[in-house]
Amino acid sequence: MRKTNRAGSRLLIGLVFLFLYAPIILLIIFSFNAGDSSAVWKGFSLDWYGRLFRNRLIMESVYTTLLVSLLATVIATAAGTFAAIGLYSLGRKRREALLTVNNIPMINADIVTGVSLCLFFVAFFQGWGSFARWFNSVQSAVELPERLVLGFTTLLLAHVAFNIPYVILNVAPKLRQMDRNPMDAAQDLGCTWMGAFWKVMLPEIKPGIVSGALIAFTMSIDDFIISYFTAGSSSSTLAMAIYGMTKKRVTPEINAISTLLFLSVLVLLVLSNLKEVRQEARERLGAARKPSGLERARQRFSEPRYLWVRRGLAAALACGFIGVVGFLSYVTGSRPVVNVCSWGEYIDPALIDQFEEETGIRVNYQTAESNETLYSLLKSGGADYDVIVPSDYMIGRLIAEDMLEPLDYSQIPNYGLIEDRFKNLPFDPDNQYTVPYTWGTLGIIYNANAVEEEITSWGALYDDRHAGEVLLINNSRDAIGEALFYLGYSVNTTDPAEIRQAYELVAGANRRGVFQGRVMDEIFQKMEGGNAAIATYYAGDYLSMVDNQAEGVDLAFVVPEEGSNWFVDAMCMLKDAPHQREAHMWMNFIASTEANLANMDYIWYASPNGKALELYPEWYEEEYGEPLDMELYQIMAAPAEVLERCTMYQNLDAGTLALYNDLWTELGI
């Protein structure tokens, strides 16, 4: 009986650990996958790691992350240590109260911390703006900047702010354990308080400071939410970069970078734990233990006669660090810059390098995860992008709200290469604001081996024969739009009756169990692995699924006969953008045929550049030595007769948007 109990509990523990670690282990395994699927194993490869180190967006975010984490750790460790010492010179009651207050930020939800810091910074910037304007108007000796935005400084301040409590929490117990008398003794022997602090208190509380610093560093590297709200537009941390990448396509590059992030945090934690264990062992064994060679060397090195060597080393390290940071900020700061915000995995990174090389302009390339988040970021005033790449309906909204700057097309000669059918579209009827970037269609992706006949109609989504096999797109506009197409209504209708009827079609199918679930990014794994038969998504993404489909899966794409949505993402410049000349140069560069060819090849979304569309099959053959699969190319760049039956989304009025929202909530799952 006892035996089975023990076996049972072991099994339980095993299961718990499996549950805890399976996702991470899976992630690590798939970071070595040769294919670019997260569901199908195609052999071992280090390809994704290689790609990672060549991806400048990621490397830049790694640099930002390391820099902000290191600086924040140093500042927070110093501030936290002295704060803890200050706390300990207070009376017990006040100290305990303050320590409790210190704990609150750590328990507080990150999102609350992030949002409040963001609000705080923005409010401060506004106050500063008025002050600076007044100050500049009354004197002319010093010119204060009038416009401050979220950026590296605010990111750093936020990190320092949330790190300090962790340092205090780690240093405080060491102070409590510490015998106060040696501090007095050191002063008695001739030290000033500061001297006694360095010579006596610091060695005593060092383990607490080191573990506090390690935890602060780990927290900084890890942090996403607080960074997200305080980094603004010009810096993004690694976690933010990863999040941006997950939005379009989950590539194993993310697995690789996540693996590295996981491992580095793990190493830090192991280090801090090891330190503690060794410290305890030393205290326990005390005299009985013989010091190891390393310890003897360390002890020798800590003798006063090596003081100057130690100081020199520390100074050299500090100088080196400051030098590297200074050099990098000089290099990056002295060059003209253009701030671009786009979507994750939405550009061939080589193009950025090429542009920088050709023009000497530094591209600060950031990503947002959806039109809606981009919109709210712009509205909050926290961003100072020059160029953004929103989708059609969002452009309409931004123009309506006077948030875009009209372009000077004389500075964008390559605009002439854009096909006429992508100009003067409803969202920008006189084409004053936009340079089209990509276009594509929404359609049905299905596994031909899992359905009885070829699918040509949206009706397949609501067909009981496919019960449990259909993935509903988790986006109200698309999901209800598909039903509107099926019912023959306009996809931009504002008639509540029509919209409700479309909704009922979806809801009915949902009640009958036709849908397996509402998904966005999971579509990739589900379809590639053959775990669902039918889904709706964008043509470009279909191509990447085909590339990764598992054995026995035969994915097909169709733009249904009732018609579908087609979309255009276009480059625009924000009102009062600070780097307008550079922004124009960037847009012109991206509109070029060469850039469009490279982009099309990299992101598999069709180009609006007529020449690029025409040249691509030729270019492909030259590049890869095999002919382009024209059938697939027709899917990526839909031919005119397909495009004819497609409609573009328009920006809906507030009432209709609210109806969409309510219905979508009502659908539940």
Binding site: A185, K199, P203
Partner: protein
């Protein structure tokens, strides 16, 4: 030869409105061994910390060589301290602990910061190791030393700086009895050899009497008596001092005239003079100053109620008219026997009434009292900032 070195003049110290020291006036001579003696919380450690510079008195002055040093920080005073529980630096070895003070650059008269050459440091540390008998221990870690050895390191660390004054805050409190006796002799020897002023804090009256040139008895933040050990023992100023130093029977008496005091309606010859006629007084009679005589020859007659064998003598409790006395004698008188006592005039010490009258000196609850006395409550004192843990 006795030159005044330190003077505390009307020093008062209060923490959060609580008065810990109340108008202390004290001077300390050069090369003197002075002991601050008193129970926990009497203010003796606070006094020491004021002299050391760790506390600034709320009011009053601290003079060193005639110069006011109230706000001079500890590191600028030529005073060093041996702390309670030693306060050694755990991350340094014995040698580095002792060399600590020598390695700190000193500012000389011309304002130049100067560092002692390694050779001199080495020589002085070795010299100190010799003095405290710790040769060969230089490379040991502090945690590898016994309590007595740590104590010696603490003393060496303080003395190596050649201070004018060494402050010792209950330095022997954590040692066992035998070691304590040895260290008492050692300290006395070092003090004599180096010719340094020692200011010693303890609550152990035996230690105080054995080592000091001058004893300062403190209670309730006030000095109760200053004097040589003999003065303090033989001529206590009040019931507190009489009780705290040694054993005492303290009785209510009436001074009938110079040299005559009345106890239990009987008149006794004494040597004390200068009291009002018929003044109510406290009378101290030391247990060893009482002679036991046959009942009919005694000035007082009583019944033995308890006997304790103490090795050198018996402690016997005798009931005289309901008041219990402690008598130390070498002759055994069994419990229940009736005895008489005789007291010589020089065995009687008359004191004026004080706030302590009636609080001490009655052995009715003998066993408890004895326990309290023998209880070596060596621990951190509850004084100081009131925030110790």
């Amino acid at each position: 030869m006795a030159k005044e070195l330190i003077r505390l003049s009307d020093c008062t110290m209060s923490f959060d409105g609580e008065v810990v020291l109340d108008g202390i006036n004290l001077y300390i001579n050069d090369e003197e061994f002075l002991t601050l003696l008193g129970p926990s919380g009497c203010g003796k450690t606070t006094t020491l910390r004021i002299i050391g510079g760790f506390l600034t008195p709320t009011s009053g002055d601290v003079l060193f060589d005639g110069v006011r040093i109230n706000s001079v920080p500890p590191h600028k005073r030529t005073i060093n301290t041996v702390f309670q529980k030693y306060a050694l630096f755990p991350h340094l070895n014995v040698y580095e602990n002792i060399a600590f003070g020598l390695r700190i650059p000193k500012t000389d008269a011309s304002g130049h910061k100067a560092r002692l050459p390694e050779g001199e440091i080495d020589q002085r540390v070795m010299e100190m190791l010799e003095i405290v008998n710790l040769r060969g221990f230089e490379k040991r870690r502090i945690t590898q030393l016994s309590g007595g050895q740590q104590q010696r390191v603490a003393i060496a660390r303080a003395l190596v700086n050649r201070p004018r004054v060494l402050l010792l805050d209950e330095p022997l409190g954590a040692l066992d009895l035998k070691l304590r006796k040895d260290m008492q002799n050692e300290l006395k020897r070092i003090q004599k050899a180096m010719g340094i002023t020692f200011i010693y804090v303890t609550h152990d009256q035996e230690e105080a009497l054995a080592m000091s040139d001058t004893v300062v008895v403190m209670d309730g933040g006030k000095i109760q008596q200053i004097g040589t050990p003999e003065d303090i023992y033989n001529e206590p100023k009040n019931a507190f001092v009489a009780d705290f130093i040694g054993e005492s029977n303290i009785l209510d008496g009436i001074m009938r005239q110079d040299g005559v005091v009345e106890l239990f309606n009987r008149r006794f010859q004494c040597l004390d003079k200068g009291f009002e006629k018929d003044e109510a007084v406290d009378v101290v009679i030391r247990p060893e100053d009482i002679d036991i005589v046959p009942e009919d020859q005694g000035q007082l007659r009583g019944t033995v109620t308890s006997v304790t064998f103490k090795g050198m003598q018996y402690d016997i409790i005798v009931d005289f008219y309901g008041f219990k006395w402690l008598i130390q004698t070498t002759d055994l008188s069994p419990v229940g026997s009736r005895i008489g006592i005789k007291i010589d005039p020089d065995g009687i010490h008359v004191m004026r009434k004080s706030q302590y009258s009636g609080m001490f000196g009655d052995y009715s609850s003998y066993s408890e009292e004895y326990e309290e006395i023998s209880d070596a409550n060596y621990g951190p004192e509850g004084e100081g900032s009131g925030d110790e843990e």
